[in-house]
Point group: C2
Chain length 239, copies 2
Amino acid sequence: MQIDVVANIGEARTDEFIHKTVIVIDVLRATSTMIAALGNGCKAVVPVETVLQAKELQKPGDLLGGERFCKKIPGFDFGNSPNEYTRSAVQGKRIILTTTNGTRGIQKAMKADHVLAGALTNGGACAKAAVNFKRDIVIICAGTQDVFSLEDGLCAGLILEEIGKIAGVKNLAINDFGLAMRSCYAQAKDTLLDTLLMCANGKRLSKLGFQEDLVTCAKVNDTIHVPVLDRDQMVLLPF
Amino acid sequence: MQIDVVANIGEARTDEFIHKTVIVIDVLRATSTMIAALGNGCKAVVPVETVLQAKELQKPGDLLGGERFCKKIPGFDFGNSPNEYTRSAVQGKRIILTTTNGTRGIQKAMKADHVLAGALTNGGACAKAAVNFKRDIVIICAGTQDVFSLEDGLCAGLILEEIGKIAGVKNLAINDFGLAMRSCYAQAKDTLLDTLLMCANGKRLSKLGFQEDLVTCAKVNDTIHVPVLDRDQMVLLPF
């Protein structure tokens, strides 16, 4: 099984996703948020690029979520904090979500056979789901404005480690960037929250008062919920 | 001190090098070869992009070195193996060197105040030289055809570790990619040759019979020689 890890969305080449399973990672915070929302009973998350698209797609009963520059968009029901998407707030609802990087990553992956959303919180479950699809895998670290983000790389490393446990390390062909991320995760996994606090997005979120989100997003294998793309929306993969 | 690590030449933005020190890394094998040649008494290494440029620049007494697809160019004196550049072969000579990635990296860095060539063999010395220049630092992992190469990332991690020892870890502001490479090196440093054998270039060189080059290029802090750009050629930094 070939597994390639891509450092940021700008480097992702759409045509390379054909017949593959793509895992999109945006740990801080889009994919962590999708996982939390779907895990708490939300019906579907529709990722869109712009605020206008979000408003146009909204049907009665739908909720709007999203951020620009880490902050909630005026008039929206939620920002991009996984802790906002509680069961009482989201159960049975459809959420239109617009975030800067995670959404772009999912839209870029649409040519793949399967598109999953991965984060530290569901790394093991996401690895298992990806292996079950029996395709080569591309892991896209969403990054921030086409620049690599450490937390996404660490999550790619976690998923590679988990895939190795399932499929056997010797059966995997991993690109150089993936090998680097796997080593990086192995080195950092015992001090993951500290590492998240050191990286650019972690610092930015801390400064804006979102420390609790970092704690939530750093919980490795906290859930078995895996969002999967079904036409234009993310739904929960049956398990 | 700000230190940014860039994953491949395609991502390097020339304008960001102004007033900075740039370290170009192409462990397998261009910068390892330059270090070996200059360490063995060669007068200067002139990095050029094309075979034609190399031939045009050659003056009486100059030697030609370089590779295409890992192999020596027909009619050239040397390939791109550091082990070829022995004292008896290179002492007092100027070498015109054309390689695929390392040369492009150096040419892209030319707007910087100082341009150094780094490899695993001179990581510590290179770190010391860069700190002495008292500028912010950009470390360019040359990579291969605009794709990240693990061995260059490991070397970036080594240089960051060495800079940390000199300048104090707390005095460094490192971009996310640099933080990842530092962790990756910390994880891999005790099994460096094995790791080099696992990465794409390591496998390719092994297959072509260059295992000895991998052993040579994996020798961490084997030398104190640091090539520095002086107009259009690399010379030895005085120490």
